[in-house]
């Protein structure tokens, strides 16, 4: 596993050294989305590893996929290169390394914001400012609705979380009772 990560990191470094100036935060979000899609549908891409299939056919499929995500053209070059090198199975790892490196180099933190209702632009702006103020980093985010929070907001990155929700309060209460019950 360590070897895969190391190889993936080398590809990511080479990719960013070449295309970092062309890459926008929106591209970063698209690359993340493609990586997630790839991880969820790994089996779909097994044929990329089969040498018997024509490279042109493989390119056609990749084109169609990347078009769906509105991915930049330079990303396709990276993915085709990996397929040509017989390393199609490395694609999600390479994309992950690209994201991590991009965040590292550009002082970015990516958050997933979850709320119980659709947040307005202003509300999202306020949350973004709060997170930027607390972390001292540029914030990129996507957001989703999760009614299991009951009420409130949850902001989570790979390494940080901020939550103020009813479900958290209930969970804290549950833990409190559980620990009291266990000690009595």
């Amino acid at each position: 596993m360590k070897q895969v990560i190391s190889v993936a990191r080398n590809y990511a470094i080479a990719f960013l050294n070449t295309f970092e100036d062309d890459m926008t935060p929106q591209d970063f979000l698209r690359i993340r989305a493609i990586r997630d899609f790839w991880l969820d549908n790994k089996k779909m891409f097994t044929f990329l590893n089969v040498p018997g299939f024509d490279l042109m056919k493989k390119k056609e499929l990749l084109n169609a996929l990347l078009k769906e995500f509105d991915a930049p053209a330079f990303l396709q070059e990276l993915i085709v290169l990996l397929v040509r090198h017989g390393r199609a199975s490395y694609i999600p790892d390479v994309l992950e390394q690209v994201c991590d490196l991009y965040k590292e180099r550009n002082n970015i933190l990516f958050f997933t914001i979850t709320s119980t209702y659709e947040l307005s632009e202003d509300e999202l702006k306020t949350i973004e400012q709060f997170l930027a103020h607390k972390t001292g980093k540029k914030i990129l985010f996507n957001w989703s609705i999760d009614t299991s929070l009951i009420a409130g907001i949850r902001c989570q990155s790979d390494t940080l979380v901020w939550e103020h929700s009813i479900s958290k309060q209930l969970d804290d209460l549950r833990k409190q009772f559980f620990l009291q019950g266990a000690s009595s």
Binding site: K134, Q156, D158, L160, Q169, L170, D171, Q176, A182, S183
Partner: protein, 507 residues
Amino acid sequence: MKIKSSDLVSLFEKSLVGVPQENLDEIGIVVQVGDGICQVYGLTNAEYGELIKFDGGNEGIVLSLDEETVAVFLLHGSIVVEEKEIAKRTGGVYKTMVGDQLLGRVINALGKPLDGLGEIKADEYRQVEAPVPQIIERSPVNQSLETGIMVVDALVPIGRGQRELIIGNRGTGKTAIAIDSILHQKGKDVICIYVSIGKRQANIARLVRMLEQNGALDYSIIISAEASEAVLNQYLAPYVGCTIGEYFRDQGKDVLIVYDDLSNHAVAFREMSLLLRRSPGREAYPGDVFYLHSRLLERAGKLLNGGSITALPIVQVQGDDVTAYIPTNLISITDGQIVLDTKLFNSGVRPAVNVELSVSRVGGSAQTKAIKKMTRALRLELAQYHELLAFSQFGTELDEVSQKHLARGALAVEILKQPQYVTYSFVDQALILFLLKEDYLDKLAKKDVSAFAAQFVSYAKSVYPNVYETIFQEEDVSDETVKQLHKMAKEFTKLFVPPSSANQSSS
């Protein structure tokens, strides 16, 4: 515990009006769980020994920091931790409760009461991995800590703040020495802490009952990490005990702490290290197993504020081999050792202390003068006895001097025998040792020696209470007192009726 619905509502309301947290929590994701350990991805700023809280309610301690992940040992075996669960940093190391309410209680390494006597209110919480006291804060060991066991107090005396290892084979009376020492502290304003590591529940229950029956539980605290508990609890238990001891020590009190036993503790640490995939060294222990015990035992000592922690670590050896890895480590860390011998134990010498191998490196300066005066030649006499005993076993005909040495040594061995749960004050010990030193026991039959000594002590207490009190107050035996003791001994020798002859006459 029953929870009223009104309590629940008020608690919930209280938590709702709470202000949102100001800062973001640092988190990691559980990527692997098993064997009481989990690997957490993230937690990039986590520190060694930091307490980690899991979303599911479990807690753990960081014990290894790798490039991508940290290894967290779990504290609660009963709470499930799942893959992809979120783990949060707390920013602080693991703390244990300390306070006066712990006295008389039995708790586990996490501070949970095991005696069913209800919750314990902590006075404060302290880090279990506390720094050892600085040199400047320490005071020399110069005050005796009586164990009430004559062979120990006479030949391997223990001072307050000393670390004296008790070492021996399985079933040679290691725990008995420690327990007798605890029982003897009754009324002496010494707080006793007994840390049980990897022992059976039944043993602990028996110990608690025994302490309770002897009125020793009131000044004692028992910390139990049973053999069936998570390995982390067994690892933590001695540190928790020491932290509780430090609380009392900082108040200027004297503390006696027994670690029973550190060989189990080392085994628990070995298990943890192997699970963490650290390189095994000698006997598969990790390289830092010495530091495991040195940092624990260095926390014992006497401080200038008057408080002290006296540590009695126990270690079990296999086949009387004191040169094994963990025993030699502990021998080098501690200020002396009480070695218990299987052969002595089996031949009826109890406590089975091997006086030739046992030593107290600092206790001599803390020994009561009264005892010191009475035992000057005792160690030498016993050494000569054991040497000659080996000769006599070959059937060699011995000269008169050697035979005298043998007879005297046999008397000394006899007088140092002591039943379990019976302890002597230092005055009692001084009186008994006086009889041995001044040859008042020489003409007695071996089986009458103990009875003579015990009755002499009672005689002195009841007929000459002023002499008894003088020794107690002065902690010394002056020339004047020696004269009186001679007078008392002569009187008593005339009065004494040996139990053996009394039995014969009655039959």
